[in-house]
């Protein structure tokens, strides 16, 4: 049976030797599938593939028929471990993190974390920049166990799920994304919508569940995603549901001995 793309030959070989078979599109597709083409012919075939569904169909028809031959090529060797490492690294890099440096074992964990972060973005509305930095923290932080002890990672992370808080700022539509990653003792504060007014800074506070003074998480850097190491006393106070408040302060944050400024926004942590 002839394929639907059977059309009149559009070209004969330039080196015609009398009995030169026609080079119609199906022939070009066959030559390409076999890998014979180079230069102009190759470009022409690629162009047709992109624009002509019948040609594309025929190319794939040939690919499919030739595919069993690859069985005779396979199984001779094992690629080096660095190949997967490179794949995982490139993927992490393209996801917007600081790429490279993954070992083969942690590569899979990073991909798994990436999936989780994506889910998280949906659930918590986490900005993608913040998610990307969170991933980078998990994967690349020098004091982070996943890199040095890949085998221990999944259990560790499962035991210490990250928490996210979004802190909407009034009716502005602006907000802070705060991510706490117990496995890395790092907190991530994304203040992408904020801009500095030159007169004020904003300071973020954790409200201890048992009462007592709010614990400062520091001055927020407007328009940036920053990570901070979390001191032990603060880490001990971070729980599912922990409240955060944002206050307006003079430049540099709340001065010693003076009450904190007005609360302009608040939010609470949710485990994800």
């Amino acid at each position: 049976m002839n394929g639907p793309e059977d059309i009149l030959p559009e070209e004969t070989g330039p080196e015609g030797t009398g009995a030169q078979p026609m080079r119609d599109d199906p022939m070009l597709a066959a030559e390409w599938a076999l890998g014979l083409l180079e230069g102009e012919d190759l470009l022409a075939a690629r162009g047709k593939y992109a624009t002509d569904p019948q040609f594309a169909w025929r190319k794939e028809w040939w690919d499919n028929w030739f595919a069993p031959w690859t069985d005779d090529m396979a199984g001779a060797a094992e690629p080096g471990d660095h190949v997967w490492q490179g794949i995982a690294g490139r993927i992490a890099a393209q996801a917007g993190t600081e790429g490279g440096g993954l070992d083969a074992a942690s590569g899979g964990d990073v991909i798994e974390l990436k999936v989780r972060l994506r889910r998280w973005q949906w659930v918590a509305g986490l900005t993608s920049a913040a998610a990307a930095v969170a991933l980078a923290l998990l994967a690349f932080a020098p004091d982070n166990a996943p890199v040095t002890a890949p085998g221990a990672v999944p259990a560790q992370i499962a035991a210490a799920d990250p928490m996210v808080a979004t802190v909407p700022i009034g009716e502005t539509g602006l907000r802070l994304d705060v991510t706490w990653i117990p496995a890395s003792d790092k907190m991530l504060i994304a203040a992408l919508g904020l801009s500095a007014d030159g007169v004020h800074d904003h300071e973020l506070w954790l409200v201890p569940q048992g009462g007592g003074d709010a614990l400062s998480l520091g001055v927020v850097a407007p328009g940036e995603v920053r990570s901070m190491a979390v001191p032990q006393d603060i880490a001990a106070e971070l729980h599912n549901g922990s409240r955060l408040v944002l206050t307006r302060e003079p430049i540099g944050g709340k001065p010693e001995g003076i009450d904190a400024g007005p609360v302009v926004a608040e939010g609470a942590f949710t485990r994800v």
């Binding site: 199906p26 595919a67 199984g75 794949i87």
Partner: protein, 195 residues
């Protein structure tokens, strides 16, 4: 017709199909599973075409990164996952051969590292046996010379010009031989699709 696939093979194909489906649904952890299941087979392909371990590994990386970026390109209605992946790997290797300075060709056996025991799936992941038998039968219907050149194009990634040079015939002659062979091959394969 060839023997029915062994259960191990059916299992491996199903595992791969399932991983491809997860990847297409956006689950990127599926990529690692796909890599584990197919790396040996696909590396065999890129190594054969490129003839250089380093280049073949680079091509292999390309393949999986591309797969991750465009998992939606695979159409399950058109080809089995392994058939599609194998074709994809070979095409990427050929592309690299055509654009780079790599010299293709068969790989010496000393290049081939021994396979670890934990890579048994490469064996099980054969492209459809019935299809394999059919293309073999159709190829066998061509004259010896044409068979040799068509196979050399497929297995070693040679161009018309390279084949003509090796056979020491004019380029036009080589094109005629191969095109005639491809015409007959197509007729035979299409006849089998009708059967």
């Amino acid at each position: 017709m060839a023997a029915r696939p062994r259960p191990a093979s059916a299992e491996a194909r199903e595992a791969l199909r399932e991983a491809m489906e997860r990847l297409a649904a956006g689950d990127q952890s599926a990529l690692e599973d796909i890599y584990r299941m197919t790396r040996v087979k696909l590396f065999g392909i890129t190594l054969r075409i490129l003839g250089d371990r380093k280049e073949a590994e680079d091509a292999l990386q390309d393949v999986y990164i591309n797969l991750w970026q465009r998992a939606d390109r695979y159409d399950p209605a058109r080809a089995s996952p392994i058939s599609w992946l194998a074709t994809f790997a070979r095409n990427r290797a050929i592309d690299r051969l055509r654009t780079g300075k790599v010299r293709g060709g068969a790989v010496g056996i000393e290049e081939a590292a021994p396979l670890p025991d934990e890579a048994p799936l490469a064996d099980a992941l054969l492209v459809d046996a019935e299809q394999a038998a059919q293309i073999r039968e159709c190829i066998a219907g061509l004259d010896e010379r044409t068979q040799t050149h068509i196979r050399a194009a497929f297995f070693d990634g040679h161009t018309y010009a390279e084949l003509a040079e090796q056979a020491d015939v004019p380029l036009g002659t080589m094109k005629s031989w191969i095109r005639r062979g491809l015409q007959r091959l197509r007729a035979c394969l299409e006849a089998s699709e009708m059967a």
